[in-house]
Symmetry: D2
Subunit: 354 residues, 4 copies
Amino acid sequence: MIPVSIVNVTSYTGLELLRLLAGHPEFVVTSATGRSAAGQRLDDFFPQLAAGRNHNPTGHNIGSLVISEKAEKTELAFVCLPHAAAATTVLELLAQGSKVVDLSADFRLHDARVYEEWYQHTHPAPALLETSVYGLCERYREQIAASQLVANPGCHSTTAILALLPAVAAGLIGPDIVVTTLTGISGAGRGLKLSSLYCEQDEDASAYSLSGHRHLPEIVQELEAGARDGGHPIQLRLAFVPHLVPMSRGLLATCYADKKEPSLTIEEVRAVYTAYYANEPAIRVVETAPHTRWTSGTNLCYIYPTLDPRTGRLVVVSCLDNLGKGAAGQAIQNANLMCDLPETAGLPTSSLMP
Amino acid sequence: MIPVSIVNVTSYTGLELLRLLAGHPEFVVTSATGRSAAGQRLDDFFPQLAAGRNHNPTGHNIGSLVISEKAEKTELAFVCLPHAAAATTVLELLAQGSKVVDLSADFRLHDARVYEEWYQHTHPAPALLETSVYGLCERYREQIAASQLVANPGCHSTTAILALLPAVAAGLIGPDIVVTTLTGISGAGRGLKLSSLYCEQDEDASAYSLSGHRHLPEIVQELEAGARDGGHPIQLRLAFVPHLVPMSRGLLATCYADKKEPSLTIEEVRAVYTAYYANEPAIRVVETAPHTRWTSGTNLCYIYPTLDPRTGRLVVVSCLDNLGKGAAGQAIQNANLMCDLPETAGLPTSSLMP
Amino acid sequence: MIPVSIVNVTSYTGLELLRLLAGHPEFVVTSATGRSAAGQRLDDFFPQLAAGRNHNPTGHNIGSLVISEKAEKTELAFVCLPHAAAATTVLELLAQGSKVVDLSADFRLHDARVYEEWYQHTHPAPALLETSVYGLCERYREQIAASQLVANPGCHSTTAILALLPAVAAGLIGPDIVVTTLTGISGAGRGLKLSSLYCEQDEDASAYSLSGHRHLPEIVQELEAGARDGGHPIQLRLAFVPHLVPMSRGLLATCYADKKEPSLTIEEVRAVYTAYYANEPAIRVVETAPHTRWTSGTNLCYIYPTLDPRTGRLVVVSCLDNLGKGAAGQAIQNANLMCDLPETAGLPTSSLMP
Amino acid sequence: MIPVSIVNVTSYTGLELLRLLAGHPEFVVTSATGRSAAGQRLDDFFPQLAAGRNHNPTGHNIGSLVISEKAEKTELAFVCLPHAAAATTVLELLAQGSKVVDLSADFRLHDARVYEEWYQHTHPAPALLETSVYGLCERYREQIAASQLVANPGCHSTTAILALLPAVAAGLIGPDIVVTTLTGISGAGRGLKLSSLYCEQDEDASAYSLSGHRHLPEIVQELEAGARDGGHPIQLRLAFVPHLVPMSRGLLATCYADKKEPSLTIEEVRAVYTAYYANEPAIRVVETAPHTRWTSGTNLCYIYPTLDPRTGRLVVVSCLDNLGKGAAGQAIQNANLMCDLPETAGLPTSSLMP
């Protein structure tokens, strides 16, 4: 078994990592940190992890792990801290020799000026930005396997990039793109915010971040890189508006783009998508509009490319579980690659439905 | 008091009309039809309308009304039937001399060929289509007041048209438009469909009608008419994708369009919107992204125009209650105009929140 | 118009009072306080109250009211503060000569020792406790009308007391009673608590306060008083367990009690309930199990008494909107009585459904 | 691998069996029936099971299984039919030599007269009723392992019986018992019923089956048997009222009973519960009120016994996933015993949360 740690286990992402790693054949969580909960047992903080008074658990009982203030050295660490706080911790972990999957935004953008523009914060290790690997396995499988530090992509970013990557790489579409996303509330995290209250989100839909969402520069960086690597460089004019809808999990992107060639058919589009994702274990290119619920608890992303019959635009609908392929699932997929394990180890493909 | 009837009262739209008309100062429901429930009292069918065993209700008690098979003649009828069935009934009611607000799609489109293309049904009275009035009060107030038949707009259509009308009428935007809508489940009606089950929609988001939603031709018809009447005729290239999200009520549209003049500022846009809707009682042009819940139970539509800071596109977010301004509320607003009553009579402006 | 004030308008109860009073024929809100929001306009704090940029509102525009630190003197004040804070403010308002409806628990219990046992706080005006009026209109209509201070009942309490009052007053049941309640999340208020987050309550049901909920002593006080006044004094042995369920509004109580006379029939029970609530405008004694949604946005309480066919126990199911008859609605019903207005003025009876 | 079949796979229970069996180390689904869907592939009916256009699945691909009209012979069959229909099929499967876990109510009651009273249907094999095994593993582990036919308990029944069994077996409580349950909507199945529509259940709580729910006789049969086998025979006077609350999954029971000995302490109660469920893998006796969400997707049942501090009554709160330990999970637990596999094989213990 390979010992791993979860930094900031008290987040929703931390909790989802605990759930997935409980079923992982190789990784075992031997360390978990959480500033506010340091000194408590995991099952004090998350009572559902308690083994029960009636048990004398033998072997590994995750609930008995004591939450620590600082991460101990393990083979690999999953860092679930917010941006800025994450970078500092990541540097320490790297110095200790741990492999790191950073679930924050701190190492996703390769250009420090872009990072500072969007996050209003001077990056502590700008040189690392240039060499950090963006943890989208479908794009950077080899680099991830060889890297000590992987920046796990954002949830909106993953959904939108996977939806459009085959089209930009094949040069099918022009630069004018609109991306609309719908996200469940867990994307806002477990912090105490008025807008995260049940009574504020129940029965409500709204658009947010209209002046610019922080996942936008990731999307543009990766789509432009994908276009360049595909031999069809392009400078995108991409508008992205996320929406909050009343559900715990789920992220759905609907992406609109103009075809370069009016004659492009849906069969040709599908052939491009099918080939691009041939045998990708986490991607399902489908022929009907997908539902976020198909992905609950899994590491899957469903992608449905189609053509708008009246305007001819390419419309791609994609969806995933924002805590799964959008966060903890993808982090484990990355960790599997980094530790030379089967890429799909410990990652469910059957969704909880209903 | 003015006697009115509700045809197909057993629908969600019928129930919302009952709720709103219970608080209306002039209209009183004296007839209600519903094929499957004919012969029952309203409070047998909707037990929440029962006065209670402890009451000896004096005066008007709506629960005691017996649901009939066919509408009796009243001053005005609200028709809540599905399309095709509606047209037949509307013709009979008009022949009886009733005023009619038709909440179906049967008289919204002025071109019979377009109707037949989208509804796969030969229209029984194509001549009426050419003279029917599209019941968007903010556009056709005088024609509505003078008409015997008003076609109440669709819920997606109302939200999208109100969002973009000022921009097309003032010639601010070009023909390339993307409209994304998010709708609550009540828009699918009260019929027994697998996709309307609680366990199918709970915790799920999905896009639907990707090959074309029936509200699209209304949107195009009315935006092009608005552009023409504003002196800026245009032929739109509009893509529209609706999404289902897990809530009962609410409809939110996010609309994207290219500015014609790159130099157009947000202040100029706001001035156009403010002037267009000056003192419109059902419209609130606001300066922050609105929430569907602000509209629950009201006849209000909130409209937030903004510019995407990176691409310069005009982005307009609008929202309303699909059973309110998107159906029953707007129907009463139309009926008020047709009966020479104050336009806002009986229409709530305070939303139920939370 | 009668000027009224809302103390702590920033709560859910405050917001519901704003909604209901917007439609009240006599009361007008001329003052609203809220410590954290003092100095802001109401429509800064609740943007849904904004009239819209396109309006030049004439007459009363509630959104423009500036939230103050301290309540100004008005004819009547609704106090929405938490317990302890409420008592201090109530005393000041009474000294100013205002009538007060206190929505907190501070003046509900007549025995200062009981108050201090449950609220862990020394009561600042124990003498007032003995003379304060419990604002359950169906019980204390005359005293309420004559009082300067009315203690608005708790939401669980109202639902359970109304369910069992006819039975104890008529001496139908013995002392062994079990009360189970189900409540929506708004009952927990608008404060930032982990347990109030969307992702903590969505898709979850749980029992809480198993060591004793603060509404229990109210329920016992009022049921025992009702029994005494009905000539059937009794000392109850009442267990009460509330449950949280994922909805914003709604409170449902299921109450179980042993019949005193095994021969008591359901017809006799219904006759007792019907007579007890004869022509009560807020109570509907019904013959089928009621739904909380029948009450959304109203001041109604539905009551369904039945007999368990196997054990013979009396089972009474009652429900209401916890923000309506369970809080703001009942507060207005009390205020109407205190100001000699029709008891039902401004109180909706048609629920928002769906 | 052991081939198994799912009869009526198109139900929610069938779908949950598919999900759980996809992760089972020994069972493989080789046959699935569904009358209305016969001839379709599983992934036509449940599109989330589609492997995706981009895959050339090798090995087992459940989506490609064709739904049949009649079950083929397999080692073991899970029967998810409604009662009455189930019995006929079960008899055929037994005659073929298959082992059967019947998830319907048809073989749960040992007395044919009781069955016929509650199900209004003459039982086709009353002799089998007397020998059928009630599939509550914690009670009948040996009999289950030796049986060809196991009757999987109802979801309300499992929750209530597990909550009270230790108390009745140890003779701690008297005959007067009240059981309140809260259930998610999936308990009503996937059939098209008005009351199962999203807009009918969203934001609503209600009590139902007040004249008697069909799980009541199971509860009484098993608690009385448990009391008898524990040496404390008793005839119960048990009232049971289930409630519907707006969530997909989850079942919570709150049970109230009088202690026989007033001096009984909570420590003694906990000792009895801990001993009764010593090392039971699916049961967690806990010291804080549990949440249904702790059980989502698992085969766990949490049990929290406590004493009401004022009345001294024993109050036990228990919860589980109605599709997990309340249906498909328990069915697999039974199947594991019947096929001599480890009892917990393929049964998740980490819940999906949030």
